[in-house]
Point group: C2
Chain length 238, copies 2
DNA sequence: CAGTGGTCTAGACCACCGA
DNA sequence: CGGTGGTCTAGACCACTGT
């Protein structure tokens, strides 16, 4: 692990356990540099990570203030798999695989996934059950050229974990779009959605570390179970 | 302007104009260092900004790939005022101020805004009209201690611009939460919402550069006009 | 004024990629 | 093997804050 990452993780711990309480100042960069026996730029990398993730606010001439995260909710934002998310929330999720097949892309899918001429595509349809109700319908499309094999068991567990841990691929970033739509026939047949007039649709393109697009996902949520939190800085942290 | 910011802006231009085309490699950090007559760390700051904002993907041992932004949509994500947003989309927005008053906080508002004992709060209720329809209802609450005066004209233009340009305050970050709710009486009376069964509610806490909370906003959107795009990296850029 | 964070530099070593 | 980006260092100067 990198030095700045170790320092970052230690400081996250100290903030979350209250050793660095909210609204107080962290030790100065020079003090941290000495106590961690490193250079100031390395300390600054760790502090910038803390800043990006909403733990501190740096103020020139004063110091770094610890931000109160009590009501900050969990950082759902970013790129998190359903399983990681459900586990963070302490729920035991149930995933049901309704379809797992290899298809040829139609025109619409081609526009989202940019496959090569004869690429086959994995199509995976799953529902997610929380508290006894099916509230999420996920339709994933993955390039077979990137993910040669895929099984029902993998889809019931976590495709992300399979890709990163078993295949050794690195997922690097995603573009997402969140919209509200009316439920389709498919939503009605797969989800417990009676009495709801809208679904939240999240369309994502997911990219590997070489910037190649390998997955397109449409995730359809019952609106009462949807929640998205976001921490946004107005100016960049460098 | 900082050197790395100048370099960043120039490179954004070159990417957006196609001088650095999608899926090609940028010049290496050493080449950029020479051509911009600077140090490699400064180049790296600019490249990290490009990476954070979805313009490039850095690949160790190879170089920095330009990401295809053609379908990338505008970066709506982050902290952008309604006016900035509408102008980016080329629409002429109409803002109507329905209420501008000073109130004492009730218990719920206190929990969102943490005012001091006798702080008064500006309450601003506005609707946003696009294409002849009222589609957004904004309810803003601002600490009078941070914003001493507020006029109808300012609220019709942009409160953010007033705060940053006239008052000289720096808005630094926001925590947001996006939820789907059923329309209230108030939604029905202020918005053109007949036939819609849900509204998208964005609750935000906005903070100044000294990490002090000064604004709480509830922004209620008609679901058909709501769209949120997001670019998320799985690993930090440092 | 001393102390804080912000920027910039020059140099070093490393892990990784492709020829 | 040379070139790429990733990390780390030590030092310098700056702008800003408080006393």
């Amino acid at each position: 692990m990198n030095k700045f990452m170790l320092i970052y993780n230690q400081m996250v711990d100290k903030i979350e356990t209250g050793e660095y309480p909210p609204s107080t100042l962290l030790p100065s960069e020079n003090e941290l540099k000495d106590s961690f026996q490193t250079s100031r730029e390395t300390i600054r990398k760790a502090l910038n990570l803390l800043s990006q993730n909403g733990y501190i606010q740096k103020i020139r001439g004063k110091g770094s203030v610890v931000i109160d995260i009590t009501k900050m909710n969990l950082p759902v934002s970013g790129l998190v798999s359903f399983k990681e998310l459900a586990e963070k929330m302490g729920r035991e999720p149930i995933t049901t695989v309704h379809e797992l097949s290899l298809i040829h892309p139609d025109r619409e899918l081609t526009s989202h996934l940019n496959p090569h001429a004869k690429d086959l595509i994995w199509k995976v349809v799953r529902t997610r059950e929380i508290g006894g109700e099916k509230v999420i319908l996920d339709k994933d499309y993955l390039l077979k050229s990137a993910v040669p094999t895929l099984t029902k068991e993998v889809c019931e567990d976590s495709i992300y974990s399979y890709i990163e841990n078993k295949l050794g691929l690195q997922i690097s970033f995603a573009k997402k779009e969140i919209l509200i739509e009316e439920p389709t026939e498919e939503d009605h047949s797969f989800l417990d959605i009676d009495g709801f007039h809208n679904v939240v649709v999240i369309r994502s393109q997911v990219f590997l570390e070489d910037a190649s697009l390998f997955q397109y996902t449409e995730s359809r949520h019952r609106p009462d179970k949807f929640r998205f939190v976001d921490f946004a800085r107005r100016r960049p942290t460098v």
